[in-house]
């Protein structure tokens, strides 16, 4: 089977979670993606979390399937090399500060993608973003956590990942347009605007009603119970109320005056959760989960990360976990984000060593071995 993006050549010069996640997706679906790193290696190589062997698992996750060349974008000779490389590329992913006009002048069919926290222009161009900063600014954190405690930002770097996924969408749209126009273009995505786009439509609600919902966790009909061996969550849809009570083995609870009327049920939510908790503590999480799912209730286990790996029969049965070969032997990787019947994801190998493709790529530009040695000596590559 061919891959969906076979034949496309991508330079990933972003050195950010968002940019590298975009590059990883392009590689997964068949593009030939080359990570462009500074001579000392991409900064993401030094980011936590780490494997017990000391290597960065973030770098591994974001760069599996890519090759790597090194060049120093900060010095003119490095920028010349990047421009030369771009003449043979379809896409360049870059962070702020890259002269994208120069790249496109050298290759009119090139799609350049600026992937950054706040962009190169606009009122926040000089701001520093982290996940917490983006979630606070966007209005999302305002709705996380309890009203009597500080807001919570969430976890991980999901805003940056979302921007990387958004960059993938934007780049593919530009490549689609290129099929008609035969012209590339400049595209851009900010983590900040992406984060705003991914909150619940609270801003639209405000524009409609002039009202802002109070801070803290929304009054969601979400039950959380701790079973013998793990957490289970249930979203109690109005039309699944009786089914949910029955699945807990408490059919009569549906008519309990504290809970029967959906308008007052939410007011008594802690009491309801406590009733369900008494049942749950005597059960195994999977037993309760399948009772609920079979009753068409909206339910899930709140898996810990190790449980996903070792205790989730669903993922195992779907063949979700895969492996890639690396220098250190096979390593587990997550399954594909989407399964394409004709052009499935292709895993080609683990993450690259810094500059492992230097000789091949620079030789292809007509740079001799002696010239490469000189560039290396001068710290350009």
């Amino acid at each position: 089977m061919t891959a969906a993006l076979a034949g496309l050549r991508v330079l990933d010069a972003s050195d950010s979670i968002a940019g590298q996640f975009c590059g990883r997706m392009l590689a997964d679906f068949g593009a030939q993606v080359t990570l462009v790193e500074p001579p000392g290696g991409a900064s993401v190589r030094r980011d936590p979390p780490f494997h017990p062997d000391g290597s960065s698992l973030r770098f591994f996750h974001l760069n599996t399937g890519k090759s790597s060349i090194t060049l120093d974008q900060r010095i003119p000779a490095g920028r010349v090399l990047l421009t030369q490389l771009a003449t043979g590329a379809d896409v360049v992913i870059a962070g702020a500060g890259v002269d994208r006009a120069a790249l496109r002048a050298a290759n009119g069919r090139l799609v350049t993608a600026l992937v950054s926290e706040f962009g190169e222009d606009g009122p926040l161009a000089h701001w520093h973003g982290t996940e917490m900063i983006q979630q606070a600014l966007s209005g999302a954190a305002h709705r996380n956590g309890q009203p009597d405690q500080p807001p919570l930002y969430g976890t991980g770097d999901r805003a940056a990942y979302a921007a990387g996924l958004g960059a993938y969408i934007t780049i593919l749209a530009a490549l689609y347009a290129r099929e008609d126009s035969d012209q590339g273009q400049d595209v851009a995505i900010d983590v900040a605007q992406t984060t705003s786009s991914m909150t619940n439509p609270f801003m639209t609600q405000y524009h409609y009603s002039g009202l802002v919902e109070p801070r803290g966790e929304r009054r969601m009909p979400l039950i959380r119970v701790l079973c013998q061996d793990g957490w289970v969550g249930v979203w109690v849809h109005l039309h699944r109320w009786r089914a949910t009570c029955a699945a807990f083995g408490l059919p009569d609870l549906a008519d309990d005056p504290r809970f029967a009327d959906p308008r007052i049920r939410l007011d008594n939510w802690p009491a309801l959760n406590a009733v369900f908790q008494e049942v749950a503590v005597q059960q195994r999480a999977d037993d309760l989960l399948y009772h609920l799912l079979n009753a068409h209730a909206v339910a899930a286990r709140a898996y810990s990360l190790t449980e996903l790996w070792s205790d989730c029969a669903h993922l195992a049965e779907r063949g979700f976990w895969e492996q890639v070969e690396t220098e250190d032997g096979p390593r587990p990787v997550l399954g594909p984000q989407f399964r394409m019947s004709q052009t499935p994801r292709q895993l080609t190998g683990g993450p690259p060593a810094p500059g492992e493709a230097n000789d091949r790529c620079y030789a292809a530009l007509g740079i001799s071995m002696a010239e490469r040695a000189a560039l290396r000596h001068a710290g350009v590559i």
Binding site: I133, G166, Q183, M198, W231, W235, L266, L305, A313
Partner: protein, 415 residues
Amino acid sequence: MGPLSGLRVVELTTAWAGPMAGRILAYLGAEVIHVESASRLDSWRQHKQVFSQYRYPRDGQGERPWNRVAQFNSQNVNKLSLTLDLKLPGGRDVMLRLLAKSDVLLSNFTPGTLPRLGLSYDDLKTIRPDIIVAEMPAFGLAGPMAHGPAIGPTMEMAAGMASMIGYPNGPPTTTGPTYPDPMGAFHGAAAVLTALLHRRRGGNGQHVEIPQVEAAMHFIGEHILQAIATGQDPAPTGNRVAWAAPHGIFPSAGDDQWIAVAAPDDAAFQSLCTVLQRSDLAQDSRFATLPDRLLHQDELEAAIAGATRLHDKQALAERLQAAGVPAAPVNDAAEAAASPYLADRGHFTDLLHPEIGVVPHEGLPFRLSATPGGQHRASPCLGQDTEMILRDILGLSEAEIVRLARDGTIAADPA
């Protein structure tokens, strides 16, 4: 002209993730038809839900609340609405005629629904060989949990994310904005675009499965890989992280106002102390290095909170950012909507909705210099475009349309 102009997408979606995926394609120029059932409305039309004053215009729900709710109207911009009862033979016939003229069918129904409706990929490729059918089931099309319905918070749990979020020693916590839904939307749009680009470059149509929970797991992929490698789970720690201290959300001046502040390295911590005029903290040996600060977080956070509560969150965030310290006000929806940054990006577009009037609509973050997307039409009222689609796209006669109306196939009044 959006990059996807000329493409037609038919949606069988409801709530947030599916409609938002279609909205992305519509933003990028595709013609997207939201096929709706009048007997079972898109849940984000909020029919028969507990009333929420936050979700309707100031003058109330009106006679047709399903057309006036912010939830639906935020996610169906640029689309057409076709009401169709797919369980009636005439409804399925119209659907097949429409899909024969379409490039993509996008569905977020539970697994098995499309085959039951006679709309599986195998059914459809016989009438449209190059069609792309994209299904977005929460847990995938097969597997022990596949039949389970899901919603953003339960997806956040199933993806392992909720276990990482919460106050110390607290239960697994889901985010209020239910983040996995837009993740699923982005993944859905990405999958459709991947298939479309492949087709445009000489490939065939195909079926694409987007298991939203598995896709979302990539957003915490490195943490999952670490748990696998070490056998250790990350525990909820509120806003604390291992790579920065302080890293928290602190009170600021005013009632229930907050500011997020992070000091990823010693230089940022020194700058933070300077801006807060707390040289005593900068010189305190308990806080000298990141390991020191991680060891004394309780004292550190109390001291920072004592200082931040004297300052306006916006002004302090600007001063901290100027000094190289990551910081931001915790904005509510009104403050976020007033953001000069979003205004500069053209994030909001004023659109005229037939039953509401002119309202600013939230946009999307995709910026393309040559083929920009955009928002040109407010979300449709229920069935607003049914007759146009039947007449102009499918070429049905007036008599045929009347017949479909008479037997309820294209009814637009909710049951």
